[in-house]
């Protein structure tokens, strides 16, 4: 019996040498451990032995059985690991340098700049308003203190319509409506598209965007105006901006100013951006003319306020380094796709 056991053991060890697949391993498992397997046979033969021999041989057979099982299990996981490895080896290795087109589209550069400004002003408690593009002469002129025959009506080459209306020449056309809607006190900005009848070239467009802002209260002062302009522009350019005010004439403000910023490119020493002057004229502003408040039903003795107008198109040109204003309305996706979402 002992010899038989040794024989089976030797045979197993020999056969294991040549195994190279899971199927073969399974066959061997059946051949040794299966119902008719060699080790199972040995167990069956035990009954012919005496008690002592039986115990001894039984132990040996069990030992062998355990060895064989462990061996097969180890071999099996070894084979599986090799198989998994082989599969990984065969898997495609991708070229991450291949180009992938982003699924996102793009927003118009004006939208991007406009949102940025709206966010800044909303954070300072300003309402964001919208307005029409086709307006009455009253809204565009009379309501903002530009009476008939005023030279300002010539200065702005207005598009007149055959129904008697005009295309709004400035966002100030919304002032009356918005002042009436909110009354005093009020803080609001209103971006919008404006139109002036002029020939188009690299720096002139007949269709462009402005953003107007107003703040009306009991004690709104020139000092407040300068503060808000400086704060807002510092946010826009993401650095501390130096501003200066010059007198400027606009019928809807008194006093009226031209606001210049110290050139953000050269810091005021002079460069092509500021035409060597160190300052860039950026934004007309002023204290709202008492007549404008009165026409909007606001007591101009009790309330004062400031207003400003920012050229969104111009700001977008400065921000993105656009030299030709015609890009904005070109509809040319090769230009516009460069402006992303933010």
């Amino acid at each position: 019996m002992k010899d038989k056991i040794e024989q089976v053991k030797a045979r197993f060890q020999e056969e294991m040498q040549s195994i190279c697949g899971t199927e073969e391993l399974e066959k061997i498992r059946v051949a040794y451990l299966g119902k008719k397997g060699l080790i199972t046979d040995l167990m069956k033969n035990l009954k012919d032995l005496n008690a002592d021999a039986k115990r001894e041989a039984g132990q040996q057979i069990n030992q062998l059985k355990q060895q064989v099982s462990e061996f097969i299990a180890a071999k099996s996981s070894e084979l599986e690991a090799a198989l998994a490895q082989a599969r990984l080896q065969q898997d495609t290795r991708y070229d991450i340098s291949l180009p992938a087109k982003p699924v996102t589209g793009t927003l118009h550069p004006i939208t991007i700049v406009q949102r940025e400004l709206e966010d800044i002003f909303r954070s300072m408690g300003f309402a964001v308003e919208d307005f029409k593009e086709v307006v009455t002469e009253y809204d565009n002129f009379e309501a903002v203190n530009i009476p008939k025959y005023h030279p300002a009506r010539d200065m702005q080459d207005t598009y007149y319509l055959d129904n008697g209306q005009v295309l709004k020449t400035h966002t100030s056309a919304a002032q009356n409506t918005i002042l009436r809607k909110y009354g005093a006190p009020c803080r609001a900005i209103f971006p919008g598209r404006c139109f002036r009848n002029e020939a188009i070239d690299a720096s002139h467009e007949n269709t462009f965007f402005q953003m107007e802002g107003i703040m009306v209260g009991e004690d709104i002062s020139i000092s407040n105006l300068i503060y808000f302009m400086k704060t807002m522009l510092s946010e826009v350019f993401q650095k501390d901006i130096t501003v200066r005010l010059r007198p400027g004439f606009f019928p809807f403000v008194e006093p009226g100013f031209e606001l210049d910023i110290q050139c953000h490119v050269c810091g005021g020493t002079g460069c092509p951006t500021c035409k060597q002057g160190g300052w860039i004229e950026l934004c007309p502003c002023g204290m709202i003319h008492p007549n404008v408040l009165t026409m909007a039903g606001i007591d101009s003795e009790k309330y004062t306020g400031f207003a400003f107008g920012l050229g969104l198109t111009r700001l977008a040109m400065m921000k993105f380094g656009i030299r030709d204003i015609r890009v904005f309305n070109s509809g040319n996706l090769k230009s516009l796709e460069q402006f992303t979402i933010q």
Binding site: V103, T104, G105, T106, L107, H108, I110, T111, R115, G125, F126, A127, V128, D130, K132, E133, V134, Y149, P151, M155, Y159, L161, N163, G164, Q165, P185, R187, F195, N197, A199, T207, D219, S221, I222, S223, N224, I226, Y227, K230, R244, L245, R246, P247, F249, E254, P255, G256, F257, E258, M287, H289, T304, N329, G331, N332, L333, K334, L336, E337, I341
Partner: protein, 793 residues
């Protein structure tokens, strides 16, 4: 407008003041200075030279060999000027000197050495005259630096005219000097004038106003015995530096006074004009202006006439016939004031904008006419002492501006400025600017000077500007406002527009574009469409672009056409205004629209259409938690739409917009290989939809059972028929259903198989298979009633 610092120095002592800094201050307090030029610095070592001898150059017809007395020595000079002559005195640039950036050196000219240069007026930078040498007066001392004799050096600064639009007082040097004096804290000198009282006994110039509306004032005076024809050099230099050409003394003086006092003047030859009528002609007339051009003058244009003959266009330009000539010995001087609007209109009718009209347009002070004449005479007397006044100072003053008095107190100034400016400073500033100031404690009563009272200063806020600009905005302490904090409501349409843009750009890869508010008829024609709209521009540069658009999509289709080589698949969108009609009051019905165009060469038309519908569905569910309805239209509502694939999008009774396949004829013009789908939505209507808050429902804990049913049915039956069928059945436990797919076998002939997955589930228990089967059977029966063969997969 160009201004001369020398001229300003006539009225303000600027000694010891840094001129560039002062001009900088002027920019910040008054008006923008665009350019500063220091002229004459490039003229060095130019003296009075006398030509003592002259010989012809042996080898040249043009050149002469001169000996020039430069005061310190006699110089050999080769000179090519045509007017060279022995005995004349000329500006002589000595060796080592400089003329207009050119160094004067000893150098050979055509074989002879030349040790200096005799100069023309142009060469020493005082006019454009380069026809010959400048001939100096005989009494000019030889060897004297030319800069000691004439105002060669000056600082010229140019003020942006636009920034003077509302300051009629700043259109002459004296007005500017007043500002400069206030800024520099120096006194302002009076202008030297002649007392015209002495001529009161002389006969008046007859002046008649036929038009009392557009003439405010006409002052005139007649003078004879003129002998000097050419203006003094310094006067000509100033005119030249300020951008005017010297003509003759009498005309130059009118220009000089205009540049000095801002009052336009005109000199008529007295032989032609000895009396004045101001009025209009009933019909258009042909009139030759002094520039030699014959112009058609509109009946609304105010004219100066003499005995019925037109002699000048009021406030714009004089006539050729009556202008001052070489022979003129007596003249009539006009100093008048005309209605600003009328001058501006006339000037634009005529297409003629002159230095005079530019000033009248600004609403000049009519008080200026008399001082201007008195100043003119004062200058004329000093230049041509033999002249004789032959009329009294004749003056027809029709319309005066009311005197303006403004009252305010320091508290008002404090509130408006937000800073503390002392009463002393307020008083001082206003006084220096010519205001009459009366102060009692903190209260002010201010008289506005006539030159600021025509339109510029009329209310308290105007006074604030005067005080603050001289105080200096750079000196302001700045501070934030104190105001109540309250939540700011957001304008719903504005919010929606932002959300739509983000949705399209982020989730649909769409690109935002902007197109014009008007149709471009030419571009539309290229893709087979016509311009449509309700309102036209009256003053468009071209009839092709005068009709405001009533839809957004056509312009976007043009944009797609422009970009067809951009990519095989892309989409663009715009949110913009259209004029969709005219309301009862005749006003434009402006609507804000969204148009999205999907273009694809690779995607099938149906898939592209479903992408578009998916976008609209996304708005309905994500923004409103609602569902929109879609209707196939029986005919195309818009020319750009496919007649059998045009769909209406609505919510309840509200029409939200249109969606459809672009008409194949239009698509073919853009790209024969592409499919194009467009969606146009009314953003105004969309923004009125109320948002439904989602009502939460716990997902069932029990397993669901699915059943896939395939309905073989006639091809033309729409999917909505199944939707209605399911809704009508209202089966219990039917949690959801969805379209799995539609299969069309060519062999079936006009039939399709529609597979729908039904999901059953209970909130309380696991469903028995028998009860689910019973429900499925009802779906099968209902399908059979619709005429379908149903297969339970």
């Amino acid at each position: 407008m160009k201004l001369s610092i020398n001229w300003i120095r006539d009225f303000v002592n600027l000694d010891g003041i840094e001129i560039d800094t002062l001009i900088q201050k002027f920019t910040l307090a008054t008006a923008e200075v665009e350019e500063i030029q220091h002229v004459g610095r490039d003229i060095q070592n130019v003296v009075v030279g006398k030509i003592v001898s002259m010989e012809k150059h042996p080898n040249s017809k043009k050149l002469h060999l001169l000996k020039v007395d430069g005061g310190d020595a006699i110089y050999d000079v080769v000179c090519g000027a045509p007017n060279v002559a022995v005995g004349i005195k000329v500006p002589f640039a000595k060796e080592g000197g400089q003329v207009g950036g050119m160094k004067i050196e000893r150098r050979p000219v055509a074989g002879y050495e030349s040790c200096g240069m005799c100069c023309s007026e142009k060469e020493i930078g005082i006019s454009d005259d380069h026809s010959g040498l400048m001939i100096l007066p005989e009494d000019s001392p030889v060897g004297t630096d030319i800069k000691k004799l004439y105002e060669i050096e000056d600082t010229i600064f140019e003020v942006d005219n636009k920034s003077l639009t509302n300051r009629p007082d700043l259109w002459g040097h004296y007005g500017i000097a007043r500002e400069i004096a206030a800024l520099a804290g120096r006194p302002l000198q009076e202008v030297q004038k002649v007392d015209t009282g002495a001529y009161e006994s002389l006969p008046a110039v007859p002046i008649a106003a036929e038009n009392q509306e557009h003439l405010l004032r006409y002052s005139a005076m007649a003078v004879e015995n003129i002998s000097v024809k050419i203006s003094p050099v310094n006067m000509r230099i100033r005119l030249y530096r300020c951008g005017m050409r010297a003509i003759n003394l009498l005309a130059d003086l009118t220009n000089y006074i205009m540049l000095e006092m801002g009052q336009p003047m005109h000199a008529f030859d007295y032989q032609r004009v000895s009396q004045i009528e101001v009025g209009n002609f009933p019909q258009s007339i042909q009139f030759e202006t002094l520039d030699g051009k014959v112009r058609e003058v509109h009946p609304e244009t105010l004219m100066i006439k003499s005995k019925g003959t037109p002699v000048a266009i009021a406030g714009i330009m004089g006539g050729y016939e009556s202008e001052i000539t070489e022979e003129t010995t007596s003249f009539l001087l006009e100093s008048a004031n005309f209605d600003a609007v009328n001058v501006r209109k006339s000037s634009s009718y005529l297409g003629l904008r002159t230095d005079a009209s530019m000033r009248y347009e600004k609403t000049l002070d009519p008080e200026m006419t008399i001082p201007a004449i008195q100043r003119y005479l004062s200058l004329l007397f000093s230049i041509d002492p033999g002249v004789r006044v032959i009329s009294s100072l004749s003056d027809l003053y029709i319309r005066r501006y009311p005197k303006i008095q403004i009252e305010f107190d320091k508290a008002y100034v404090d509130r408006y400025t937000g800073i503390d400016i002392s009463v002393g400073q307020i008083e001082d500033t206003l006084t220096r600017l010519g205001f009459g100031v009366e102060r009692r404690g903190d209260a002010f009563t201010v008289q506005v000077p006539s030159w600021r009272a025509t339109k510029d200063v009329s209310i308290k806020a105007d006074i604030i500007e005067e005080i603050t600009r001289i105080y200096g905005y750079d000196n302001f302490a700045i501070q934030t406002a104190t105001c109540a904090v309250a939540p700011m409501a957001r304008e719903p349409r504005k919010v929606l527009i932002d959300e739509l843009k983000t949705l399209l750009a982020l989730s649909y890869g769409s690109h935002e574009v902007h197109t014009y508010l008007w149709n471009d008829a030419r571009k539309l024609k290229e893709i087979g469409l016509e311009a449509e709209g309700f309102v036209r521009l009256k003053n468009s540069v071209s009839p092709d672009i005068d009709l405001l658009r009533c839809d957004l999509t056509p312009a976007l289709l043009c944009t797609v056409e422009k970009n067809r080589s951009y990519a095989p698949e892309f989409s663009i969108f715009e949110i913009g205004s259209v004029v969709a009609g005219i309301d009862k009051e005749g006003l434009a019905k402006e609507e804000r629209r969204l148009s999205v165009v999907f273009y694809g060469r690779r995607t099938e038309e149906e898939a592209l259409l479903m992408k578009a519908k998916g976008f609209v569905e996304g708005i309905a569910s994500a923004f409103y938690n609602e569902k929109f309805s879609y209707y196939s239209m029986t005919e195309a509502p818009k020319p750009w739409m496919h007649p059998y694939n045009a769909f209406q999008i609505s919510f309840g009774q509200t029409l939200l917009g249109l969606m459809g396949i672009v008409h194949p004829q239009v698509t073919d013009k853009i790209d024969k290989k592409a499919s194009i789908i467009a969606v146009e939505l009314n953003v105004d209507e969309l923004s009125k939809i109320a948002k439904m808050l989602p009502q939460y429902r716990e997902p069932s804990k029990f397993p669901s059972v699915t059943a896939d049913l395939s309905y073989l049915i006639a091809s033309e039956v729409p999917y909505s028929a199944f939707q209605s069928m399911v809704e009508t059945l209202a089966l219990p436990f039917l949690e959801s259903y969805e379209l799995v797919g539609i299969y069309q076998d060519p062999a079936w002939k006009k039939q399709k198989s529609v597979t729908i997955r039904f999901v059953f589930c209970s909130q309380e228990r696991t469903l028995e298979s028998e009860e689910v089967q019973a429900l499925v059977n009802r779906l099968i029966e209902a399908g059979e009633k619709m005429g379908a063969q149903v297969k339970d997969n």
